[in-house]
Symmetry: C2
Subunit: 454 residues, 2 copies
């Protein structure tokens, strides 16, 4: 929710051009909080405010503004000032922002940005969205192997402000091949042996990613090894940059949102729900809804083929949605459990049989439970019919729930086995397949139990 | 999948007690990789191997073993050795592991652990699972305000090995109240002014969490501010410990899994899918399945009340599942989109109207799309009936999809408004509600269109 607490004061300061108070406001709080209090301002007002702030504060607060506000500022405000701002932003944030600008703006800004930064933006822009290369920052401390601990400290104390992180120091050879890593902790611990070289100190068991690898892979590796940052290299092991822990948290968040959307049968939005264009949203939902609709037509075809039977035993009709949704719901549960277990690495390739066995056992248990409720239901609901009649719904529930759990668990495993994203087996998709089977099972159970007495 | 590449060699080394080779194996790779290669061994074999390793390697590799393997080792292996291992583990990991041991084992081990560590385990165990206190580590560098940069470095180089992180140094007063923070980067940058005190250097705009706050809140704060670690304080602002970035990544993962399970109508497992007890799993699924089942009974009641109508226009029957699942699917989509938007903070309190408007617009769009397919369908499928007949399914689809999207979006917002977890509005739950409405809409549309010509 937008924090409007200081909004009148901020507007007042702007109106009266009270530079002293504005400066005070920009240094008083953590820059993220400052940015929060500014959310109620228009991007133009926010920029006016920031242009009175000192440059470090301006940069910090700007980096915490919402992405749409940042974009609007870059598009509309004074180009020279924006270019200076961009030149000082962290290189990974900068390139993300940059790629969303209009081509004319990009070109105009690039001309005003110092040549080294310009080259870096262009280099980072090469990597496709979603790869390690597109996420990395090039602001990283590189040291040569022959540097002593004393010299390394000297070097760092000169450059510490420039880097996004100095918690790992990367040791490279003269051709920029990554040779090792020294943590700030190791360096501090080695302070009493100031002549030790980086070569002696460095850890050579390196975990790296290649620039073209998928961001999800990067997040998994960093999370598994509890790293603060992971170096990004090319295929010849040249040091290109690093990806830091905060980017990894963002990736984990994004991937979770993507999975949740996919699970509900929505193509991942890759954008804010409230901002995305309605036509795009319609497309991302419509495509799956249509696929599911055509699946639904099959249930209609199936039901139509049992016309005669439904006419003979009309009391079966009201239970159709109940029976098929019980199968669909238990199938969705199994699918979600297997998909989350796969992402967490809880299930391994040789666990197939174990999963199948567990799902059938659980399916039997749940089916029996629902079956007992179903028995009471048909008994009271259908006005005490014969023994065979009252067994139709309960028996169908047992079979449908077992089939639902089994299929719900196996489909994502199958997808995973063939290298697809198991989350594509969305809940509505599993439910759709189980719906059709549910009708077939229901009608066949009814036929077997009732045809003798029909 | 279990890596069995070195399994024969590892077993060979153990059989021949080849201590030299074992030591070599434990230092050759990153400890996480070493642990991976050991996954095929039994916990007892793994521990035998580790007991030949040097103590630092033993500790590191142990900390990367899977939690069940760690537990089994702690329960079954030599208590004195385990106590020594536990005394050196990071304090947050240790307490997690400790709390899962059998009470007898806990007691026995506590007696063998040095008193300072014992007190800390007992203190951290006080905080309930899921709070900041239960996640924090107490291994944190605390400095006094009057310390100079030079002395701080001296202090750190003596103690660097003891702490989980030295990237933030916390400044406390004589009564352990948290006063400020100095980053390793600031300290390094200040090296050329070695007499500066911590009081001058420290940042006093602190972001903290209280020990009793929820872990999800902690994760949000750390992710929003891109912190490496966040200090944990009590209500009097005493410094208790810190929570580090790697724990935050774990929280984000866990919360995503919980949400995905809730979305599919499963009570969050809080355990591995493959290890959880079948009865527990049955309960966590059964409770929701039963609730949904009783919702399903209402669809049966609704359908039964339209008996006469369904008898008069039998051709309506096969389309029942199609019509209601179209509503349910579009409702699930909306619910998932709104829930993910709420967790990401994309929707704010005053966005209600905007969400309602967008959902109705999208619902109309999608409903019209499906309606057109439905028109073609009934036309061909029902053997070219009259104009009124062929309008029933299409018109129902338009209304049902609009109602589905609207309700799917509004229910999670309503839950959120009243302080409940919006993810409780699971997809099957939304679908269940929309199912009943779908039947009512279908039957009423049919009645209006057909009663004149019936």
């Amino acid at each position: 929710m937008i924090n409007t607490l200081y909004l009148p004061e901020l507007r007042e300061m702007l109106a009266t051009q009270n530079v002293h108070e504005i400066k005070e406001f920009t240094v008083a709080l953590h820059p993220a909080r400052t940015a929060e209090f500014m959310e109620g301002l228009t991007p133009h007002e926010a920029w006016q405010l920031l242009s009175h702030a000192d440059e470090p504060q301006r940069l910090e607060v700007f980096s915490y503004l919402t992405p749409p506000a940042q974009l609007e500022i870059c598009e509309n405000e004074d180009r020279d000032q924006i270019a200076r701002l961009l030149a000082n932003l962290a290189s990974d944030d900068r390139v993300d922002l940059f790629q969303q600008l209009k081509p004319e703006t990009q070109e105009d800004l690039l001309r005003r940005i110092p040549v080294a930064d310009r080259r870096e933006i262009q280099r980072l822009s090469q990597y496709p969205e979603g790869t390690a290369g597109a996420m990395m920052t090039a602001d990283v401390a590189r040291l040569s192997e022959s540097l002593s601990v004393r010299d390394a400290f000297d070097e760092l104390s000169r450059q510490a402000e420039m880097f996004e992180t100095i918690y790992y120091l990367y040791v490279v050879d003269s051709e920029n091949h990554l040779r090792g890593v020294v943590s700030a902790r190791q360096l501090v611990a080695a302070m009493r042996r100031p002549n030790t070289t980086m070569r002696e100190l460095m850890e050579t068991k390196l975990v790296t990613v290649e620039a073209t690898e998928d961001q999800e892979e990067v997040a998994n590796r960093v999370a598994k090894l509890d790293l603060l940052a992971i170096p990004v290299v090319d295929h010849e092991h040249h040091m290109l940059g690093i990806i830091t822990h905060d980017d990894v948290i963002d990736i984990v968040h994004d991937e979770a949102v993507e999975d949740a959307q996919r699970q509900a049968g929505v193509e991942p939005l890759n954008d804010s729900y409230i901002r995305i264009n309605l036509w795009t949203l319609g497309w991302k939902r419509g495509i799956w809804l249509t696929i599911l609709f055509f699946g639904g037509i099959l249930t209609a075809v199936a039901l139509k083929s049992y016309d005669g039977q439904l006419h003979a035993w009309k009391w079966l009709i009201p239970f159709i949605p109940l029976v098929i949704s019980s199968g669909g719901n238990s199938g969705s549960q199994s699918a979600a459990l297997v998909i989350t277990a796969l992402t967490r690495g809880d299930i391994r390739r040789n666990d197939w049989w174990r999963v199948a066995y567990r799902e059938l056992a659980i399916g039997g248990m749940l089916g029996l439970g629902l079956g007992i409720f179903g028995l009471m239901l048909t008994y009271f609901f259908s006005g005490a019919p014969g023994v065979y009649e009252s067994m139709v719904v309960p028996l169908t529930l047992v079979v449908v729930v077992m089939v639902g759990t089994f299929i719900g668990a196996m489909l994502p495993l199958l997808f995973h086995r063939f290298g697809f994203d198991p989350a594509l087996m969305s809940n509505p998709f599993v439910a759709g397949i189980v719906d059709i089977l549910g009708i077939v099972i229901y009608m066949n159970v009814a036929f077997v139990l009732l045809s003798g007495i029909g």
